[in-house]
């Protein structure tokens, strides 16, 4: 028994779980004062139903024996009983580590539905989404031991180079980003969207949230090595480099476009950088990581304006940050993978264009599946218990109507 690796994975799982309350602060600060509790409750709710979804069918579909190279056997280990009875510490904490990923991924989507989704509908959505969307996609990328379906040398891409997704560019960020877009479209825009100011009510919360996310993300990326080894250390260094420089990318765009570098921009740059380096953290050298981070910050800073142009109310920019930077990080492996550090080299490091194509295909598969499956779940809820609160509730504030509480004495 390798106690070093086990200790690191126990630590990593704890760090990743901290990301979700961190996200509650990040999103909560960005929302309006009259809906901050609901915003934070969506993250805490994701922890509640996320673990339930994981121990029932999520873990089995994600990590169970593959059925036809599509999903893991849903009855593989109901309740994680076999895993725990087996007594293998690495297997047990790996199952726990997986739960923390499922929770943060579905929690990310809540940024798209701010201020207007019924809390019960959110809980049902999160439960179904973990089982039907997160678990299958994670099975493709990481499931079935070392022969991941959508991984290098897996059955889907055979002997082609890649695809690589070390910690979840496809499974977590592209997946959540697409789901956020679908839910924003299904729910419709908030009353006053694009007309009334909906300014973030507490920017220090946003920065606190970004700090907690960054800290937790070390478990996410370096923990994805499943060992306290060179890959973990590489992932740690690249994560730090890309994230720091992503701040610069975001605030530079702001300085040029808007005239000022903002704290919201810096906090957003942190998350964009973390997102982009997630799939690539074990494939790049720090120069590659710096390029990925800088462009992630800049691209996401530009992408957050798209919702006004196209008229979808992705309230807290899940699409602009997670889909755009997740896509960029996943594709960047095809361009900037070092080749000596891990696996195949990218285009600019002497590899061919094939790796880029394979990365794009892996991203494309995730986008298509996430869009269709999320749409089905969303429609199912919309036409049964309903998705959206009444206009009256939305205007007076969802906190009081859905939770019977207000965060502040006078909340606008």
């Amino acid at each position: 028994m390798d106690s070093g690796n086990i200790a690191w994975l126990l630590t990593s799982a704890s760090l990743v779980l901290l990301m979700t309350p961190g996200l509650a602060f990040f999103y909560g600060g960005m929302s309006r004062g009259k809906s901050v509790l609901n915003m934070m409750m969506m993250s805490f709710g994701a922890m509640a139903v996320g673990v339930l979804a994981w121990i029932t069918f999520g873990f089995s579909i994600s990590a169970g024996d593959t059925m036809g190279d599509i999903i893991g056997n849903p009855m593989y280990d109901f309740g994680l009983i076999d895993t725990l009875e087996g007594g293998d510490a690495m297997a047990i904490i790996s199952a726990g580590f997986g739960a923390t990923f499922a929770i943060i991924t579905v929690a990310l989507i809540s940024g798209s539905v701010a201020d207007r989704m019924k809390f019960g509908s959110w809980l049902l959505f999160a439960f179904l989404w973990v089982i039907l969307v997160y678990a299958p996609v994670s099975h493709w990328v990481w499931g079935d031991g070392f022969a991941a379906l959508l991984g290098p040398d897996g059955p889907w891409f055979g002997s082609l180079p890649g695809p690589y997704d070390f910690a979840g560019g496809t499974v977590v960020h592209i997946n959540a980003g697409v789901a956020g877009l679908v839910m924003a479209l299904l729910l419709g825009v908030r009353k006053g969207f694009g007309k009334e100011p909906m300014r973030p009510h507490n920017l220090p919360f946003v920065m606190l949230g970004a700090a907690l996310l960054w800290f937790g993300w070390f478990g996410f990326n370096a923990g994805s090595a499943f060992a306290a080894d060179g890959f973990a250390a590489t992932a740690w260094v690249n994560t730090t480099v890309a994230t720091g420089i992503a701040i610069l990318g975001w605030i530079l765009v702001e300085k040029i476009r808007d005239g000022k570098a903002t704290s919201l921009g810096a906090a957003s740059g942190v998350v964009a950088g973390l997102v982009a380096i997630t799939p690539a953290c074990a494939s790049l050298d720090p120069i590659g990581a710096a390029i990925v981070g800088f462009l992630a910050g800049a691209l996401s800073a530009l992408a957050v304006g798209l919702k006004y142009k196209f008229g979808y109310d992705d309230s807290l920019d899940v699409v602009g940050v997670h889909l755009v930077s997740g896509l960029w990080g996943t594709l960047a492996i095809g361009l900037l993978a070092n080749g000596t550090i891990n696996g195949d080299a990218g285009l600019f490091y002497g590899g061919g264009i094939t790796l880029f194509g394979v990365q794009a295909a892996a991203a494309g598969v995730t986008i298509v599946y996430s869009a269709i499956a999320t749409l089905i779940i969303g429609l199912l809820i919309k036409y049964t218990i309903g998705l959206r609160v009444s206009e009256e509730v939305e205007v007076s504030g969802i906190d009081l109507a859905e939770h019977g509480e207000t965060a502040y004495e006078e909340a606008k």
Binding site: P197, R199, P200, E254, R257, D258, G259, K260, T262, L264, G265, S268, A301, V304, G305, Y308, D317, G320
Partner: protein, 112 residues
């Protein structure tokens, strides 16, 4: 008796309070206010989206004084609050019919 009301820049509050004390004023009521004059509001940008903030934060001070002191108190406030920039605020005086001190029940100038 007069009621002197001042709307000033919040960052001048301490200076004005000190000036009032120096002018012998025994009490003042301070509240947070919001509004606009010729200064108008300002714009804020969040993730590239521009918001116009119509009302800017101000501090409101109210002082009850003897008729004879009203001009001195007004001057003290104006000179302490002045920065010379647009948005410095306003001070006005209105007559007061009566004042009662709650603790003792005194009325008029005795209650000041």
């Amino acid at each position: 008796m007069k009621l002197v009301t001042a709307i000033i820049q919040p960052h001048r509050t301490d200076e004005v309070r000190a000036a009032l004390e120096a002018a012998g004023v025994k009490g003042v009521t301070v509240s947070e206010a919001a509004g606009y004059g010729r200064q108008k509001g300002h714009t804020e940008v969040y993730r590239g989206a521009e918001y116009t903030v119509d009302l800017v934060p101000k501090t409101r001070l109210e002082v009850l004084v003897d008729d004879a002191d009203a001009a001195t108190v007004t001057e003290a406030i104006v000179s302490a609050a002045q920065t010379g920039k647009i948005g410095d605020g306003k001070v006005w005086t209105v007559p007061v019919d009566d004042v009662a001190r709650v603790r003792t029940g005194e009325h008029g100038a005795d209650a000041l």
